[in-house]
């Protein structure tokens, strides 16, 4: 992993020269060793920034939040906002620019190459009962500082699956790049979990999803944390339906509700499948939805399925380039059509 000092220096420099209005990065959180997102606006705050294997958050979410806030206060500052972006975060930024959510000049990307390391998986760590105050890579191992002393675990066993399978650990779109473009380790087979899952027959697959969707409590954490879920109005909760004193019961009853908000299986499954479809060709596999899910629904399977179809059937890689048209807004003559009668 690159030295944190490089990130701090870059951020300090940018803020001191007044080239950016703020820097979105990571700082030490209050939850043990885990980092948390932070927005710094002054050069002297740059020393707060950290960089370690717990920086798993996808910060591009805060670019979206920033845009929403600026729209709300009707401002359009000249200065860009800087963001510390890993390979996956940079892909998300590319998708957002592809969709013209903001322009290239609005954002200053401090690209950070993961250099063959990656981020921790909180759940893998918790299942091993490790409570550490610090984590660092040492070759192929992760070294944790715990109350019982130093604990050394092969990195592969506690790293997030998406990092093990990551094909672009180095940002492609950046203004400044820290670290080198190298993988440094043997990559795991992509879509391994999906492949394992699909080996089951349809009855087992349904049993699995039935159980998963029965458990969803519809907290919408997956939607809140997703940088691609930026719609002003979500199909789940319609805000454009005005209800006032004059609205009759009939009008309320007859409004179109594609998905109810109640947490029952049929609504949950419609919600999650709709979300997977909406993210087809846009999901960059940052896996934040699965990480924040309070009931551990394996949402990555759904998103991976769409990603793999896009790659294998349509030759589309989400977040690869700003200039290519979006997956569902384009077509090729060679698209599969055998299933059509």
């Amino acid at each position: 992993m690159i030295a944190v000092q490089d990130i701090r220096d870059t951020a300090r420099d940018l803020l001191a020269k007044n080239e950016v209005r703020a820097v979105i990065g990571y700082r030490r959180g209050t939850n043990g060793m885990f980092a948390e997102p932070v927005v710094i606006t002054a050069a002297e705050q740059a020393d707060q920034l950290v960089w370690d294997p717990t920086c798993f958050h996808n910060l591009s979410l805060y670019l979206v939040e920033d845009r929403k806030f600026l729209k709300h206060v009707k401002q359009n500052p000249d200065l860009p906002i800087a963001i510390v972006a890993k390979g996956c975060d940079a892909r998300a930024i590319v998708v957002l620019m592809q969709e013209h959510y903001f322009e290239r000049k609005n954002v200053y990307v401090i690209g950070v190459s993961c250099e063959g390391t990656g981020m921790l998986d909180e759940r893998k760590l918790a299942s091993r009962g490790i409570q550490a105050s610090d984590a660092a890579f040492d070759g192929d191992d992760l070294v944790f500082a715990t109350a019982q002393g130093e604990q050394r675990i092969p990195a592969r066993e506690v790293m997030a699956d998406r990092c093990l399978e990551c094909r672009t650990p180095c940002p492609k779109e950046y203004d400044a790049l820290l670290g080198e473009d190298k993988t440094g380790r043997e990559l795991a087979e992509p879509f391994a979990a999906l492949k394992r899952f699909e080996e089951q027959d349809a009855v087992e697959r349904w049993k699995f999803w039935e159980r998963q969707f029965d458990r969803c409590i519809r907290c919408f954490a997956c939607r809140s944390v997703c940088p691609m879920c930026y719609c002003d109005e979500c199909v789940v909760d319609s805000i454009s339906f005005p209800v006032n004193a004059q609205t009759s019961a009939e009008e309320k009853a007859n409004r179109v509700r594609w998905i109810e908000r109640s947490a029952v299986r049929s609504e949950n499954i419609t919600y999650h499948m709709t979300r997977a479809i909406h993210l087809a060709g846009r999901c960059v596999d940052c896996n934040e939805c699965e990480r924040v899910c309070p009931v551990n629904i394996p949402l990555r399977l759904l998103n991976n399925k769409m990603e793999r179809e896009a790659r294998e059937q349509f030759g589309y890689e989400p977040g690869a380039s700003v200039s290519v048209p979006a997956l569902v807004a384009s077509f090729l003559d060679s698209d599969p059509g055998k299933f059509i009668r």
Partner: protein, 153 residues
């Protein structure tokens, strides 16, 4: 309610399983195709409820999931043949989108035969009747669709 539809309702009332199909037909081709099947007096099962849409490309995945949620046993999306779209490229876009929906439904464990897409032109009344016949025959052994149906009890 037509005579044929009344028969289906009657069969359902007597406890016999009759698959219910929701068919999203594009206004320019498939809808006209189904009309032709009618005016040509071609006999085919009346299990399909046709819903005319402007273009197969306008069929949102929400429509399909919603139809299943409201209890459809099968959903058909039908549009113009490739190259014949009234809006030039609508059916190309539909082909991509529908492929994704189909794959997702299959992955979750919904029987692949419950969801179908076809190209039926305005001159293909016979083909339309055949598509519906095949669909009904394939749906019958599957029984009622309970997986995505909303639990209203």
């Amino acid at each position: 309610m037509s005579h044929a539809q009344a028969e289906v309702t009657q069969a359902e009332a007597s406890g016999e399983y009759e698959p219910r199909i929701v068919a999203f037909l594009c206004k320019w081709c498939s809808s006209a195709g189904s009309d032709l099947a009618g005016v040509s007096r071609i006999q085919y099962p009346s299990n399909a409820t046709p819903i005319t849409v402007p273009c197969s490309g306008s069929v949102s995945p929400m429509y399909i999931l919603s139809a299943f949620k409201k209890g459809a046993d099968g959903v058909l999306v039908s549009g113009c043949h490739i190259g014949d779209c009234h809006y030039i490229e609508g059916n190309y876009l539909a082909r991509r989108k529908i492929h994704l929906v189909k794959e997702l439904l299959g992955m979750v464990g919904v029987e692949p035969d419950r969801f179908r897409m076809s190209w039926v032109s305005a001159a293909e009344g016979a083909k339309y009747s055949q598509v519906i016949k095949d669909f009904v025959n394939d749906l019958r052994p599957l029984g009622p669709q309970e997986k995505l149906k909303a639990d209203r009890s």
